[in-house]
């Protein structure tokens, strides 16, 4: 009953023992995810031919394949912690992919009669790549801003607002270019296919996004506001938290993350295809939820999301190596997500 004094040396009283039990439980739940990951890796290592799953080349493959989803899922985690959802990320991936490569190879402009107006020039080399990347990220941020406007200003529910953006961004990508845009500069391809110390550049990018996301969510006042808004919006408002601005920023962040993923993906494939990113929102949501983010808002961590994304990546890779058909893979993935969430909820109960 009485509050337990902090920093005790010996756990003796019942209270102290039960605090110790609580700590154990917390630690256990944190390791449960990591444990699942290790278990899956061991399983695939044992079942794949010649243990190829555990070969460093394949592990690097897994990391590289998970990078895209991880980047998207970090933004998604922010959104879900505020109690929202972003269904438009997959479409933003496609839009950013096609737009960034388009600007890279052709600049941005339009013609009125016989005049051509250049908004963005087509530069050779790295300059052009940077302009293209900037264009891709900007369009993602704008799509996020548009989402936020519908949600904050016009009070559209996040599900509907981002569902609309899912259509808008996908359509816009195809309007911009029906065909995949090819002939991208080598400097751009390096972003997707280059390596440093043997590890693909996308992995470094994902790591950077993760570290920034983790720091912002867990170490800054903004991150605290994100939790407060998702946990109890009215209490947050009455505590002077700028609820609208907080939401706006998370949707912009999510759009930015999706656009980053889109450009990286285009670089990997050496082409900006407007069809890219189809259904990616589902993997991102799954990663966040697997990682313990609550769709009710107010709860979730970046670390959990990363583990969630890795579990999905390992499953995808391992099952493919075992020649499990893609439909069977879907069934298995669905069951794993369901099981993880059920376990998580059981853990949450007091």
């Amino acid at each position: 009953m009485s509050p337990v004094p902090p920093a005790n040396t010996e756990a003796t009283s019942p209270e102290e023992r039960s605090v110790a039990a609580l700590r154990r439980k917390e630690a256990l739940s944190r390791f449960a995810l990591a444990g699942t990951l290790v278990f899956l890796c061991a399983l695939f290592a044992l079942t794949t031919h010649n243990h190829v799953f555990m070969k460093s080349t394949n592990l690097i493959n897994v990391a590289s394949q998970s990078a895209i989803n991880t980047i998207i899922a970090v933004g998604m985690t922010f959104v879900i912690v505020t109690g929202g959802i972003d269904l438009s990320v997959g479409s933003i991936v496609g839009l950013a992919a096609v737009f960034s490569t388009g600007v890279m190879v052709g600049g941005l402009g339009f013609t009125i009669g016989q005049y051509r107006v250049d908004l963005l020039p087509q530069l050779p080399g790295v300059g052009g790549v940077l302009i293209g990347l900037g264009a891709g990220l900007t369009v993602g941020a704008l799509a996020g801003l548009f989402n936020a406007m519908s949600i904050v200003r016009f009070r559209v529910t996040p599900f509907i607002a981002t569902l609309a953006m899912m259509l808008i961004a996908r359509g816009a990508g195809h309007l911009y270019s029906v065909e995949p845009i090819r002939g991208v500069p080598p400097a751009f391809i390096w972003i997707g296919q280059g390596r440093w110390l043997g590890i693909p550049i996308p992995v470094y990018l994902a790591l950077t996004v993760v570290v920034i996301g983790w720091a912002v969510l867990s170490k800054t006042p903004f991150g605290r506001r994100v939790y407060a808004v998702g946990g109890n919006e009215e209490a947050a408002r009455l505590s002077g938290i700028p609820v609208g601005r907080t939401k706006l920023l998370v949707y912009v962040a999510s759009g930015l993350c999706a656009a980053t993923a889109g450009t990286v993906l285009a670089a990997q494939l050496q082409a900006g295809d407007p069809k890219l990113g189809n259904a990616y929102e589902l993997d991102a949501i799954a990663a966040a939820v697997l990682g313990g983010t609550s769709l009710m808002g107010g709860r979730g961590t970046i670390l959990g999301t990363v583990l969630g994304a890795l579990i999905i990546g390992v499953l995808d890779n391992g099952l493919t190596m075992l020649h499990v058909s893609s439909f069977a893979q879907m069934v298995i993935k669905g069951l794993v997500i369901l099981g993880a969430v059920i376990l998580d909820q059981a853990r949450q109960r007091p």
């Binding site: 009953m1 009485s2 509050p3 337990v4 902090p6 019942p14 209270e15 039960s18 605090v19 039990a21 609580l22 439980k25 720091a215 170490k219 800054t220 006042p221 991150g223 605290r224 506001r225 939790y227 407060a228 946990g231 109890n232 009215e234 209490a235 947050a236 408002r237 009455l238 505590s239 002077g240 938290i241 700028p242 107010g298 709860r299 007091p350």
Partner: protein
Amino acid sequence: MAPATESPAALLEMRGIEKSYPGVRALDGVDLTVREGEVAALVGENGAGKSTLIKILAGAQHMDRGEIRLGGAPVRVDSPSDAMELGIRVIYQEFNLVPQLTVMENIFLGREPTKAGLVDFRRMEAECAGLLDRVGAEARPRDLVGRLSVAQQQLVEIAKALSQDARILVLDEPSATLTERELDRLFGLIRDLRDHGVGMIYISHRLEEIFEIADTVTVLRDGAHVITAPTSSLTREDIIRHMVGRELKDHIPSTTAHTAGEALRVEGLTRRGHFHDVNFVVREGEIVALAGLVGSGRTEVARAIFGADPVDAGRILVSGQEARIASPRDSISHGIGLATEDRKSQGLVLGLGVSANVTLADLRAISRRGLLSRTLESRAADEYIDQLKIRTPSRAQLVRLLSGGNQQKVVLAKWLFTDSKVLILDEPTRGIDVGTKTEIYSLMNDLCDRGKAILMISSELPEILGVAHRIYVMREGALVGELAREDATQERIMDLATGGSNG
């Protein structure tokens, strides 16, 4: 441990109840006996385990050890529906109403009267109206519960509990949100039920009520059973001593106001349908109370000043300067803070820890170079955990898991931490135990000494009379009077509050 009296047979016996949560031993061998037609009071400090005992009786929590007997026979109460079947009705401290549903839908939730397989709304409305009338609620059957004031919601809870026959009725701090008049009504109701042989458990931090209504008193301290005795054999001081385990003076420390400049001035404040043309002043170093019946518009005025609700007309001046306030954010930046009356929905983020909630309204104060500082955050939390005696196993404990009174303390702590110039406290001691109440009053006095202005809304007249330097009384959305402390009496306040009809 129960006194050997030859009163009617024991209706309910709880024996040796034990319950632990992680880090908390909530109940450690508690006994409670209720006889037919008896009101058993359950008292103890915040976090003593009262609500936990009730939740176990209601099947909402499972005990680790112990026995429950009903009419002499051991029973198992594994779920709320078991409890319902046994005739146990509980009015919880934290409401369990669905805000999106109407009053009648809430009252008949899960057992709607039907006609030909369809819900018979006519009958539901008629029965509901009868129940609301019985408890003296102003709410109508078709009102949305989420739109009702806290007091009305409380009355709806009571009506809901009474909508089915009860053998045992539990009231967990029903009075915390009611004013005298509604309370009188409730006591009438309790006496009526008592005459019908219903056994009742009554929890309250207001000891006057215990003496008025209870036959026996059971005191819990730190989850342990201290004493059960007939109310008539105990004095107020006895009960307090048993509660806190030592002598404690529970008089309200009063200070004189050292008023200086004007801190808050409200002119012609109007919100149509809620209050009109409200004018008043709070000076630095002064505690001003806003008295009135529930529904008189006090909370609405406070929310409007704070920018939580829009106003139709009027000006707000802070330190003599007109303040443009369109949101709580604006008012906070002008140095105004509001501790709301409804902690669960407006005051707290239940899924965050104690320290995160305490510091939520002033994140800048715990940030260094754009990053949250755990050290500063912990220091702030520890200070208030200590000062307000917040009972929690750690500062990281989720607020959701604290007892009702301790949650209230966290809300207070949040606003004390902001260091506002003007603090508006809406029912600051609701649900808080006697010992800590005194603590809070002296804290308010300290703040005054430091030149802060406090506007307090309270439905407890002794509290108003004891703490406030000046009193404004509201009735039906208008300020109807001002009283200096020297001239104020319970009667004069009630006279003004009721328009003299109900002195």
